[in-house]
Symmetry: C2
Subunit: 218 residues, 2 copies
Amino acid sequence: MERKRSDIIADQLEELIFNGTFGNGERLDEVQLSARFGVSRTPVREALLRLAQSGLVEHFPRRGVFVRQPGPIELIEMFEVMAELEATCARFAASRISDRAVSELNETNRRCHAAVEAGDADLYYRENEKFHAILYKESGNSFLEQECLRLQRRLQPFRRTQLRLRGRLKQSMQEHEQIVAALGQGDGSHAAEVMRGHVAVQGEKFHHLMASLKTAAA
Amino acid sequence: MERKRSDIIADQLEELIFNGTFGNGERLDEVQLSARFGVSRTPVREALLRLAQSGLVEHFPRRGVFVRQPGPIELIEMFEVMAELEATCARFAASRISDRAVSELNETNRRCHAAVEAGDADLYYRENEKFHAILYKESGNSFLEQECLRLQRRLQPFRRTQLRLRGRLKQSMQEHEQIVAALGQGDGSHAAEVMRGHVAVQGEKFHHLMASLKTAAA
DNA sequence: ATTTTGCATCTTGTATACAAAAACATTGAC
DNA sequence: GTCAATGTTTTTGTATACAAGATGCAAAAT
């Protein structure tokens, strides 16, 4: 299945916004981007419309599109929702999860733990993401799974910065293990509660990092 | 603020899909639609891309776009998520809601009740929607509010059919009142619990109506 | 000096033209 | 008669051309 140029451009633009090449409020000019990517305006335009729908940029008809980084308040709100969605996944999963998936979660946690010991933040990040992805799937609700993946993807660039808080890693691992334990016992409300705190803390502690972000004022 | 033709077309196509003019799996031809709306392919194309992102149609590159009505399983999943999101709204609202909003909810419930008495299903529908919209806002989380509105909008055509179940109306009203009472007492978990059931029942009872839907088999 | 109005320019939105890939049908081989 | 190969046709994806609204500046009026 061959992808369209416009999709590739959308992904690239997304990355450029995530890594801060295009700052908040910056205008994205169609012709400029066309030249940059060596294509005509059409695919660039389709890419911009896609980004506008996913909320990464704002589109003012006849005026242009502007980068729209979420401000601190919106980020906290998004983390709050993420926490609720993941808690829901955990609660659902408690009654629906397979033994196969439980051991898979344990496996992932083991690798995650090893990554912490080795100080391999990148590996930790990948395995951590996998842990959460498994839980989404084991919620037994594909729609919920997709929504979680969508929001996780949007929060990804802000979540990454969290990992630099050294002390948090070990606590995070303990929470993972608590979640798996609760799931193994079929204790949905406990799994949900731990998961909620596990994710929400990222949003609550987030303001500690606000100084290091360019998106200080909305 | 003048809207674009492509946006207008997207809305019209959405409506045509909702009301079943375009059945599930049907192919949406760009040139055909261009002729139908009296415009060129460009705005039609942009509209289709927008619908594809919102999940109403599926876009296969170089092959075309096809109507993608959610099947019964996906619908139940979506209602399940809607129930969780609204329950979250209720729980948040319990600690954040203003007295002003509480009386507004009571007002809306009163009009809702009157609509039931008068047998005015349409008015009931509008006031019911307002009730929920107020709760979204009073969650104090704008992002959550927007997500709820988005999903509600998507489920709207399937929710409407629920109202024909006569017996459900009165019970639904009682639930509304229970929710407001719980909110007034600041009992978030109870408000959430009632709300969850209030919304979820639409999904659970949904299969009773499956026969009347064209989207029987995925 | 400040505001307002008209013009020039720029940018977006839409139409059309072209390229390439996929669907389709026809024809030929087995 | 079925299946495969090839050529034709249709349809999407991209480029370009055109139309119209938005922005900015300058000049004139208050």
